[in-house]
Symmetry: C2
Subunit: 904 residues, 2 copies
């Protein structure tokens, strides 16, 4: 007996099952499963993927026994559908469709209405009493068959489809515009003309025998597995060529057989909001392709209850059954043929992030799934949709339609912001103080812009990528941020920017959708998400928000399963407060340089940089000390007993000096020194490759008095706050270490200052000294570095730059090309490069813990909030990840998923 | 019986030996060895280092039995020297000196003339019939004892030595200037005054008993092991504290007992030239300290033959004996006391590089040592002294003395050059064409300066380190080069530079000593080394040059032992020719970018960069193709059947564009485009971190037509030269790869072009495609990269920059500080950082060979010519090193040493 290749389904019994996707493809398996559930599915059969494999291995031959199995299955279909293939009176018509293990939408071929010929078309006409319908089906079938099976494509790229050409000629001859204006006779003539063309072009007549048609179509579908677009699609999606496709042969049903027929799609829940309701739309007297074509406006599904209450009830019952069966929201296709409901497809429905979260939580509460499954059902990144301010969807759509979409940049900071355009940080601050909402528009941002970024509702830059300064700081602040909008041309002098033929002046309103990267002219209404209203603004009671309930539930489950700690990157008390509201368990990276930009501070900082002697430098640092101490006091008060990792000064000193003539002149006056001196120092500090220059611990080593001041500020602040009864936990982190002796030199300064401070206060504060691992050599020599380091924090931004030898600010010239051409599978600045950077991390952790088994290890690069990277950090056995405040919930969720995936 | 602590030497028999340095210290062991050789050494004994260790472990106590052993040894000394310790008639006087395993010159204490007191001084006077001599010895002893043993130091830092103060007062009282003008009675008074001071300051009388004196001095010497300067010295030189010092007690001999006495130093060979002759100098009627003080001018040793022929003959005999015994050139100290020769010290003599090579070769030919030992006796870097042009030493000294030394920079390109100052490359070329010798003076150099550098005798820059562009290219060209001379201020507009109060104008003569970094005002005579005259200029016959003979011998032995191949970095036929003369076995790095700077080429290159479309770019590349092909043809012709590794375009494109207003204007005219366009492109190409930017294979991937042109030029050139009957071996090397898919993309272009070219020529050329490993990620993912790479070449310059996250052009701001403060043990740009960069190399090679066991691996960074790095490359199992032409012999030698050291 030959192997089983053909799987029948119909009349409540199917030979396949949902778990046979490898053999039957997704479509075939689901059709079988629905049939077995007793759901009305037009009968049919699936030819397994093994046949496809055989077909390719045997030069287009089919395995022995296939023909007999197809015959048997066809007989069963005839029996169930009560009609016969090729019967001129009561013909069975079928569709022949592909169906691979995973969906490859539109990549392979389909033939519909198969079984029609000059005889059977009469049977169809008789059954429907509709000659036009019969000939329309027939001519469509002949054209489709000619195209798909007989390969009758346009003769050149400039040509149109040959059948389309005949159709157009016919319409012209009849003086009509639309296909629907052609009569049954016109269509009948078309059939003849199509067949004539087939004879001319192929030298063979159109096959009138339905069995010939069937085998022709089966072969065509198998062959379409290897058409060019399918091959490319498989390469892109990493689908093995060996998988092959199944072929589904299924009885045709028609939604266009009159007012008692129709077709539609339905979701078991609302895919936009997640609400539990039958959601969808349908058309009366129409075929599936009419819905897709969008010529007629579909009717919302609830109307079906009024028009065909029985069908609607049946659909609801089926929807419930399918959802309970598949334990997930379903996206279903159905057709109503002369009052009878047929289900053609069901699959897990796509949904928005909001819906995903709501459905997952609801289903747990309905007992459909458990918490673990709920956690795995959502994409952590989609949490953004619960947190960000949003535009009113209708208003935005209206704006875009009316031509107000200016351009699209990179969606660096999700959310919606609307405000008046300003072009520099001090204007942003000044306007904000006057009560204006502003959008800061810059070519690119720098640390000097921090205050302006803080004052702005949103930030728009013309240059920079997803990890540019604007993007990083914007995300950390939770600002709406669109970066790298290359089409805008900013003219700072004229205080305006241009894009296309729009000119936007200072003070004009624009709106940024940081979730999509859209930049829209004019004002759009925004509102904060309910989660923010509850957690941060406290303007909404938790119990009043369904969305907050969903957020809260999901987070509590996540915390129950995750093992990674989640900290935040924050250097301002308000950021820290937000992060705690989002569940941060500490600060993983407190950058100290941002603290040097406010008011007098920048002046003292510049005085320090321009100092000629250690004494002058110390005098300037003495001015900075109380300010910086106060910063830390405030942060410690917010963080209470949570650990706070503070990084000593990192950026090169030239970042703190002014660069324009006017600023230089002003500074010279303020400090009472010559402009020449400032310029000379600027020149002396100029660097070829600032990223690889005099920064990080290299500053602290050559100017130990800077580290000394910072250590003193941190430890005095810690003592002050400890006096208030809080168990502060400062962790002092030395950046850019590549050699243990660097760390030792800086540690020595910190320990010495600590001794002095503690003696003065008369008590001690527990503190740690550790280091960033952000240079390849630090990872390579981690065993020695761990001799001095009490903790490691992977600075994966810089580690990625140095490991790849790729500057994040310059990568825009080739990285997009690399991603497009698959030279890199993804942007390593967005997701940790597991193979390269990740290998160094793995090595660093392993070597570090060899020296110091309980070494605390974390990550404070932007990757700490990216779900796949969080999972990787979990796999590496890190203690915590740290990310910007608004990504804390995402990291919590990703950390829980990492545990669940590992045990799956 | 107690352990042996005291080792006697004297009268031809010693208890110690040369190989007992650990126990007896270097001095004690050598005194014993000389004694055993029958050489006249004043008798004495050594107290072992174990006593020092015991002393420190037991709180200043001596081990049991030591006193008795010292007594016994002292008796033996008395017997041999025929005098008695403390005998008022015939007193034995001794010196007490330290002596550690390794020399710690001047770090520890010494006491001379020990044994004198009011009685014994009379015996000394009687023996010498010289009261002044006797009291002079006595007062010196008391002062030294007071200082060293009794710790009588100046009371504050501003004070002078207390004994010196008494001496000065005495001279003032006597109205004399010099010590020698004081009479015996004056000196006698001084003794009394010194003793009075000792009593006052210590509360104890000066010890009159010689045995008390002796034990006091022994303790003082042991204690001096732990004085502050000795501790610091040990830290710097990594000498363990536990080693301790020995104490040498030895009979005094005096070179100042009249005209039949004297003292001097002698070398068994000339330490400057290596010539085999007794070399040295002496003073009649003088003590060792007189030679050091430099008050009297010493007499050359050959004069001793005339003055004291017997002593001279004896000294010659001893010199021969010692050299034969120690099998190396000796540096000896001797004293003649009343016509009798005493040897006080012998040790291996320091020598110049030239001498080291000559002595090593001579000693092999004399049968004293074998070839292996000769190879290990020299420092490979010293080979420079045989190869470089040199100044006349006397003339240079004269110039420095007369204030013509302008400044000192980094000695980046050894040798001597003199010429007239020009400030830009085109002037250098123009002046050279007029027959002038020029020195190119620039703030820093860039690839545009190549032609000017080529035209210049020497290059002087104000900025940049040992691996700056100027230094790299200068070394590769074999140019004299001084870089980073920070004191000079260049004013391009005024065509002059200033340093201190000197102003040097265009056209003024200056001289550069690239071996020392000195910059000297005015003209100095130079001459090429004899090796160059033989090998390159062919202006000297090999047999006419002793230096060439030495070079040749050493190189032939090196080639016999080394296993590493040695290639060169060269991109011009003349460089390649020089490298072959120096023994290069191939080209390891042919940079192609230097080829784009000549005449029309830079224009075509700029056209290519400014192109707006692929077509325009290809048109410009088509102009470059024949020029580049011709370059390769010429290089292949020189290299014949030796492999030539050619790197595709590496630097960022902006390096090829002009930057000054005038150049931009000129270019715009030449190309018939707007200046605006050039500026816009310049701005578009501007990079924050060019080192990490759009360069290397990133260029070739985004503009594959560039790689295509280069591959075509290389392979067509190879075919052309193969037609001439040469078996060319091109190796195409893709730079800056960090991911195998980058290499695959470039390899695909090369293979496709190769196929086309070979089809057209009708034959094939064997060629390889490989990659640089110069990015940490390339080393980390080497297993995958080796799937595509037929060879690896470690680009350790960039690998060091990226592994350390340290830009070589910016490191000048902190690296010198790091080296000074021992944060890094050495400059990783000069020597491979074994621990970090080296670890990545080791990993890369191991992983690469796991994929492809026969993977060819080399190094083409500047480290390839640094001896310690060459040894490291040997240890890693590399196939070859590649370095600039003038370092090829050094690498050959270092490679041989690596083998010999490994088997030692």
């Amino acid at each position: 007996m030959s192997k089983k290749y053909v799987y029948f389904f119909g009349a409540g019994k199917a030979e396949g099952r949902a778990d046979m996707k490898d053999l039957l493809g997704g479509k075939g398996a689901n059709l079988a499963e629905m049939t077995n559930l007793g759901i009305p599915v037009p009968a049919g059969f699936t030819i397994s993927t093994e046949v496809c494999t055989y077909y390719y291995q045997h030069n287009g031959q089919y395995p022995e026994g296939l023909a007999e199995q197809v015959d048997t299955a066809l007989k069963n279909v005839e029996k169930v559908m009560n009609s016969r293939f090729g019967d001129p009176e009561n013909p069975l018509l079928v569709s022949v469709r592909s169906g691979a293990r995973v969906s490859m939408p539109g990549m392979m071929d389909t033939v519909l209405n198969l079984g029609l010929n000059d005889q059977t078309v009469q049977g169809l006409i008789k059954k429907t009493s509709n000659p036009r319908f019969g000939y329309d089906c027939y001519r469509r079938f002949v054209a489709m068959y000619g195209d798909v099976v007989l390969g009758m494509k346009p003769e050149s790229e400039d040509d149109i489809d040959p059948f389309e050409a005949i159709l157009e000629a016919k319409k012209k001859a009849r003086g009509v515009q639309l296909d629907t204006e052609l009569t049954a006779d016109d269509l009948k003539e078309l059939v003849a003309e199509y067949k004539q063309l087939i004879l001319e072009r192929t030298g063979q007549p159109f096959p009138e025998d339905p069995r010939d048609q069937l085998w022709g179509a089966i072969g065509a579908v198998f062959r379409s597995w290897n058409n060019e677009r399918a091959i490319v699609y498989r390469q892109i999606h990493n689908i093995p060529d060996e998988w092959g496709t199944a072929v589904n042969v299924q009885s045709m049903v028609y939604g266009n057989m009159g007012e008692d027929s129709g077709t539609g799609v339905a979701f078991t829940r609302n895919p936009a909001t997640g609400e539990k309701e039958l959601y969808g739309e349908f058309l009366i007297n129409a075929q599936g392709e009419d819905v897709v074509a969008g010529i007629r406006t579909p009717i919302t599904i609830s109307k079906l209850g009024e028009l065909m209450p029985d069908v609607y009830r049946e659909l609801q019952t089926i929807a419930d059954k399918l959802e309970r069966h598949y334990r997930d929201m379903q996206d279903m296709e159905f057709t109503i043929q002369q009052g009878r409901l047929w289900m053609l497809q069901t699959r897990v429905g796509k949904r928005t992030g909001l819906a995903a979260f709501r459905i997952a939580v609801d289903m747990v509460e309905e007992g459909l799934i458990d918490e673990k499954e709920a956690l795995l059902r959502v994409e952590p990144d989609q949490l953004n949709q619960l947190l960000r301010p949003v535009f009113d969807a209708g208003e935005k759509e209206q704006a875009v339609r009316s031509g107000r979409l200016l351009t699209r940049g990179l969606n660096a900071g999700p959310g919606a912001a609307t405000g008046r355009v300003v072009f520099n940080a001090s204007d942003a601050v000044a306007w904000k103080e006057k009560g204006e909402r502003v959008i800061l528009v810059r070519i690119e941002t720098s640390p000097e812009d921090i205050k302006g970024m803080h004052a702005a509702e949103g930030i728009l830059t013309a240059r920079g990528g997803m990890t540019s300064h604007a993007a990083l700081v914007g995300r950390q602040m939770g600002k709406v941020c669109v970066v790298g909008a290359g089409e805008i041309e900013i003219d700072y002098k004229a205080r305006q920017f241009r894009v296309g033929n729009h000119t936007i002046k200072e003070g004009d309103w624009i709106s940024l959708d940081g979730t999509t990267g859209e930049v829209i002219e004019g004002k759009l209404q925004t509102r904060p998400s309910e989660v923010i209203q509850v957690l941060i603004e406290k303007s909404l009671k938790p119990e009043a928000s369904k969305i907050f309930h969903v957020y809260q539930k999901m987070m509590s489950w996540a915390d129950q399963y995750r093992r990674l700690g989640v900290r935040t990157n924050a250097d301002q008390p308000d950021q820290a407060r937000v992060a705690i509201a989002f569940g941060a368990e500490g600060i993983g990276l407190c950058r100290t340089e941002h603290m040097f930009f406010g008011g007098n501070r920048i002046l003292a900082m510049r005085e320090m940089i321009l100092a000629d002697t250690v004494e002058e430098r110390k005098a300037a640092l003495d001015k900075l000390l109380p300010m910086q101490r106060q910063d830390f006091i405030e942060i410690f008060r917010v963080m209470r007993d949570r650990p706070v990792t503070i990084r000593t000064l990192d950026p090169p000193l030239h970042e703190f000096l002014p660069h324009t003539d006017q600023e230089i002149q002003e500074l010279a006056e303020q400090l009472g020194i010559s402009e020449h001196k400032i310029r000379a120092r600027l020149e002396a500090l100029r660097e070829f490759n600032p990223m690889l220059g005099h920064r990080g611990c290299r500053l602290g080593i050559t100017f130990p008095e800077i580290t000394e001041m910072q250590a003193r500020a941190i430890l005095e602040a810690a003592c002050e706050v400890k006096k208030e009864g809080l168990d502060v936990k400062p962790e002092i982190m030395i950046p850019l270490v590549s050699e243990v002796r660097e760390l030792e030199a800086q540690e020595e300064v910190v320990r010495r200052v600590a001794k002095e401070v503690f003696e003065r206060y008369g008590f001690q504060v527990n503190y740690l000294v550790g280091t960033m691992i952000e240079i390849p050599r630090a990872a390579v020599t981690a065993a020695r570095i761990a001799q001095a380091a009490e903790f490691f924090s992977f600075g994966t931004n810089d580690l990625t730059q140095t490991t790849f030898g790729m500057s994040r600010d310059d990568a825009g010239k080739f990285l997009p090309f690399y991603l497009e051409h698959k030279i890199l599978p993804y942007d390593p600045f967005a997701r940790i490069d597991f193979e390269g950077v990740g290998k160094l991390m793995e090595w660093g952790i392993q070597q570090g813990r060899q020296t110091r088994p309980k070494l605390k290890v974390g990550i404070c690069g932007e990757h700490g909030g990216e779900p796949a990277s969080v999972e990787f950090c979990h796999q590496l056995g890190m203690n915590y990840v740290s990310c910007s405040p608004f990504r804390v919930p995402i990291a919590r969720l990703a950390a829980a998923q990492a545990v669940l995936k590992a045990s799956a």
